[in-house]
Symmetry: C2
Subunit: 242 residues, 2 copies
Amino acid sequence: MSRSLAQITCKGRSNCFACDLRHTMVCADVSLEDLVAFHTPIDDLVYPAGSVLFRAGGAATAVHCVRLGAIKLVKPDASGDQRIVRILKKNDVAGMESLFSGINQHTAVALTEVHSCRIPMNHFHNFIAQHPALQMRLLERSQETLREVDSWLSDLVSNIVPARVRTARLLLRLRVGDSDRIHRLPLADLADILGLTQETVSRTISDMIREGVLVRVGKGMASRHLRGDIAGLTAIAQREEA
Amino acid sequence: MSRSLAQITCKGRSNCFACDLRHTMVCADVSLEDLVAFHTPIDDLVYPAGSVLFRAGGAATAVHCVRLGAIKLVKPDASGDQRIVRILKKNDVAGMESLFSGINQHTAVALTEVHSCRIPMNHFHNFIAQHPALQMRLLERSQETLREVDSWLSDLVSNIVPARVRTARLLLRLRVGDSDRIHRLPLADLADILGLTQETVSRTISDMIREGVLVRVGKGMASRHLRGDIAGLTAIAQREEA
DNA sequence: CGTGTACTTGAGTGGGCTCAAGCAGGGTGG
DNA sequence: CCACCCTGCTTGAGCCCACTCAAGTACACG
């Protein structure tokens, strides 16, 4: 089993070696030999926007490493209606939360086209068990996620905080990198994140556009981006009545 | 280093061997010998109700294993005011979220008298590094916490859901075991969890008492318990207009 | 017995929800 | 190319739940 790395071209299968995420993802801290043995059953998949990766309540058969695009994790509340609890981007792993329970906690829906590596759950389990360094990495990641969710809780969904402020906070989190471009999710999604109605979010954003804090980029409704006055948004986000 | 276990009586220090939590906590999956070496620097502490175990933003010097009582984790939001993001009970570990960052994410306040084992952070770190089984356990725990927080998000703080419903859901989570007794936190705490005002929570609970879904136990305000009609509360929690 | 803390209750207001109509753009089929 | 619809968004009118402000009560403690 000592074929050269270059030989590992995988038809329909993922190629961890060519992956630019190699050092930040699951694979990091793992030797190349192990990786060769590991990566065999991993599928390299493409999901169109809107498709469902897995559904809450179903058996968790795999985890997905996101290599491109964004995914929303939706959780049904005690009375049935859905709530977005997290958004996954490049480098995130979907399905980790079912690692031990075996049952999906969330429904995962692709927001954009998504490229992901699908790792069968039992395979993943075995692999983790054999690589302590990986365990630490996953633990660290889990804690990161926890921190993220904590601030969603305190920043985004406090009813005590006015809709306008929370919306500004969310928009700031949807920046692409450090630019002033902002991902424009469908209203329904923004509403499901903030716990507001579509109408309220629409009004709030329209107001901001009128004030010039936000600018529509392009003109069609197809444009999934806004341009934002970051300083202005930040002021609003801190309740400084911009 | 082979003194008998019984000899290890620790003045002011914790005694893991006598601990009834031995098999559910950090210590589980670890050999007794390792434990002897490990437990030396662990302090066995008692915090009175209301005291602060650690403060958000400060350096994380230790983790606390809760052996008795309850702790609230409070997180300051982007504009300064505080929000309760989690409640820790027996068997939970406070401070885990600073394991990698080194900085406390939350302020931890004792809700009741709290008995905890204080494990210095660097010590904890070393110990984890040497015990893979422990890593897996911590990972599992971290995921559990994540699940917990997710349902706080979807069940408790959706503004879309009326205050009455959310309050019922929270009360159900504050049951002691499977009984009909319910921990009665101060109004201010309930409000900070639900993202409501004290007045609203007070009115909601008073209504439930009038309807008989809740019953005050004892009479003084010192009583930190209620008795609840679980079926009734469950109905309300599911929006079935009970 | 007075003071403080926690809770209760009331009156009035307002932010965000509901219901509902209207609009834009982008497909699709004729 | 236009007519059509369909989905996503906007905007308005009215209402109601929960907030605000404020006064009042009950118990706990010194």
